[in-house]
Symmetry: C2
Subunit: 168 residues, 2 copies
DNA sequence: GCTGAAAATTATGCATT
DNA sequence: AATGCATAATTTTCAGC
């Protein structure tokens, strides 16, 4: 247990404080509000707010971006798919997934399946073709199982650490 | 097939054009750049850029927010877990997951498992305890299977529709 | 729905503690 | 690392096309 902790700590991880926490909370609500407004809300000097935001972004603790809702662009059919992908084509397959607008999540895995993807399609027919034809016809790729997802309830873009993850 | 298409179209879905596409591309790189800078980059009047951004946000096609990297806050152990959750406690369980900082993705499902969650922990021991003790000890919750995730390669926050999803 | 011009607000660079 | 101040840039408001 101590070993595991030590391994995690070895990954260099700047520590952020409660001011950073407050800034992250404000930016989560609307990432385009002005630094001055954040400064007013949390009662911190505006220059400080700006520097903190820069530090958070530069250290890659946060990324200030735009989340696009796939369903607003017609992608209503969702499936989570677990795959067994041959090592020889693993990296290449990931590259093709990244380019595929139907793939919106890729994770490596351990076990029977070594890759998990989340896919979104304009309709069930497209999804059916992908799972039953396109993937099985790809050399080196085997569909281990899949999971039709009627609704995504919560996603990483809504996640934030808890206050106790920030030092005083 | 036509039926499926029609069902999808029935969900009201404002259509966005190539200008919106360009704006989304710029905001994806850095959501805090000024509207004027976007205007300069894509050669559109800056007032137009602002109105488009407002429309995109108000229609919920995009959400401009801050993505926090869990690994920067020590969450290095990741598992995807498929669960069978009794209907009686389904909504309540989802609520508790939303509040749990170890859960960063929740999706409903069809089949043997009816809920999929992605979880992140500070270390493997915490993850082990959650999967082997905390979940099985929760009444009405059964772990169908789980999947240790060494690395998340790509996620929804990097996804954008393709240009052809936008009208001319 | 798009743009112009002035006023208000915000961001930036430099300097100080 | 945090702030004050002056200047530059941006956003907002009101207006007309």
């Amino acid at each position: 247990m101590q070993l595991v902790r030590r391994i995690n700590m070895s990954k260099k991880m700047k520590s952020f404080d409660k001011i950073d926490f407050k800034i992250i909370k404000e930016l989560s609500k609307d990432a385009r509000i002005s630094a001055s407004e954040i400064a007013r809300t949390i009662d911190i000097n505006e220059r400080t707010v700006r520097r903190r935001i820069n530090n958070l972004v530069e250290s890659k603790a946060i990324r200030i971006t735009t989340i696009v809702d796939p369903s607003m662009f017609g992608y209503h059919s969702i499936a989570d798919i677990n795959l067994k992908v041959d090592e020889e084509i693993y990296d290449e397959f990931i590259k093709s997934c990244k380019k595929n607008p139907n793939v919106c999540y890729i994770a490596s895995g351990w076990g029977k399946a070594n890759l998990a993807i989340e896919t979104r399609f304009l309709d069930n027919e497209e999804m059916y073709n992908f799972i039953n034809y396109k993937l099985p016809e790809t050399k080196g790729v085997e569909v281990i199982n899949f999971f039709i997802v009627p609704k995504i309830i919560y996603n990483i873009d809504e996640w934030t650490p808890v206050e106790s993850d920030f030092k005083d």
